[in-house]
Symmetry: C2
Subunit: 237 residues, 2 copies
DNA sequence: GATAATCAAGAGCAGTGCTCACATTTGTGA
DNA sequence: TCACAAATGTGAGCACTGCTCTTGATTATC
């Protein structure tokens, strides 16, 4: 039976995260201010240190929060795909990628918090790694299923010994059916996806280079899906 | 004939950039302090505003500086490739990619300044876009040559209309021989490369996932080179 | 040589993260 | 029930930040 004080504490905690998230949306990670959060919480600045050790601790809270939301969005997007047959895997990857981009475009500051410059002096604690790889796991999961269904082309390039060893360990730890070379390609999909989204959100293409970034993204993800060995919908039968 | 004062000014300017670059290496973009630069310059904090309008202006200076160095490194790496025959294009792309990663690993803060979270409230001015695409241009140049030499496979996927229009304009403006679909793939190479480097520099792979990141990177870039249509060295003759 | 542009200094404003001594509230064991 | 201890909030304070403004010194130019 939780004491009322504990309840109040939990609620204050949630409130802090809420306000932090809100401010993050307005100013970006580097400018996030504990004092401003305290102000909006209606409390003097030093009081918030009773709940949050550090500015870094607040960032960690917000990082986990953001990872969770992004991970959830990608997972539900993948789960919501209704396509049937061999094309379903490619459709799932596309849906997950689209969800990633849409979340990032809608929440650029939070995306930046996760995949941009690490905040100065900030070292990610343990709690952030599990939610951090959720998106990657979702993508790899789809590819693993595709492989099990015999839809995924098996790459035949050879891997250097240390790379092979690392990937074999990953395959074991995650309990995958995927061959190691295919897992390597899954990594390419993952980092490629975030390269695309970063360039988009951080405006790395010139301002007037692309008129329809959504369509461009779609095409690029299609290329990544090719790379990873997923067949195109229109089969050359 | 430049007056001595103008000379002094230029030298001070260079000194500011030098110190800024140095501090950047220690603290990261968000924590870069004009006051600290002034201190090390041996001058009171307000004096540096005679040379640099803003903290943002200093960042712009450093951004251009970093873009130039990275661009130069990539260009000389590409120019230094001695491989002959059809394999030379792939070797050049690999060399450029390697140079990118090596520069980024050696200068994580400056890489972050270029490709990480845009600094809060910072809007890139005109001066930064030209040096900003130097790496991209170098890569595209290699691919264009490869295409002209008949070594680059021509992709046959179709492009959505807005994407095709944008890419066609790019082809025209840059005076490329490359088909638009190949340019699309060149973009994939570009963003993929920076996705890889970002993940590496910003520690996005778990801390203990990869034991030999250099080898892993090499493999991944190889995949991107495949994607873009460059033939592997070992031909299946 | 007088005038005007340039540069440096120093004080000051508003903001930041964070610490500490202190007061108040709240939970708990004797 | 009451005293004691833990938890929570306050306000002052330190050292730092970006940036502005006034004042004084230096330097170029007419």
């Amino acid at each position: 039976m939780p004491t009322p004080r504990a309840l109040a504490r939990e609620q204050t905690m949630r409130e802090i995260v809420r306000i932090g998230r809100e401010h993050l949306g307005e100013v970006g990670p580097a400018a996030l201010s504990l004092r401003a959060v305290a102000r909006e919480l209606g409390v003097v600045s030093s009081a918030v240190y009773r709940y949050v050790a550090d500015r870094d601790a607040l960032l960690t809270l917000l990082i986990v929060d953001a990872y969770d939301e992004l991970g959830g969005a990608v997972e539900t997007a993948i789960a919501g795909v209704r396509t049937r047959g061999e094309a379903r895997f490619r459709a799932r990857i596309l849906a997950g990628a689209r969800a990633t981009r849409e979340w990032a475009v809608a929440e650029p500051s939070r995306f930046a918090l996760l995949y941009g410059t690490p905040v100065p002096g900030y070292r990610a604690p343990r709690d952030t790694v599990d939610p951090g790889i959720r998106v990657a796991l979702a993508l790899v999961g789809v590819l693993d299923e595709a492989y099990a269904a015999g839809v995924l082309a098996s790459p035949q390039e050879r891997l250097a010994r240390p790379v092979r060893a690392d990937l074999e360990r990953q395959v074991r730890e995650l309990g995958l059916a995927l061959p190691t070379a295919a897992l390597a390609r899954a990594f390419a999909l993952w980092s490629g996806l975030f390269g695309l989204v970063s360039f988009d959100v951080f405006d790395q293409y010139g301002a007037e280079t692309l008129t329809d970034r959504g369509a461009f993204f779609e095409h690029q993800v299609g290329l990544l899906a090719d790379l990873v060995g997923l067949p195109r919908a229109a089969r050359a039968s």
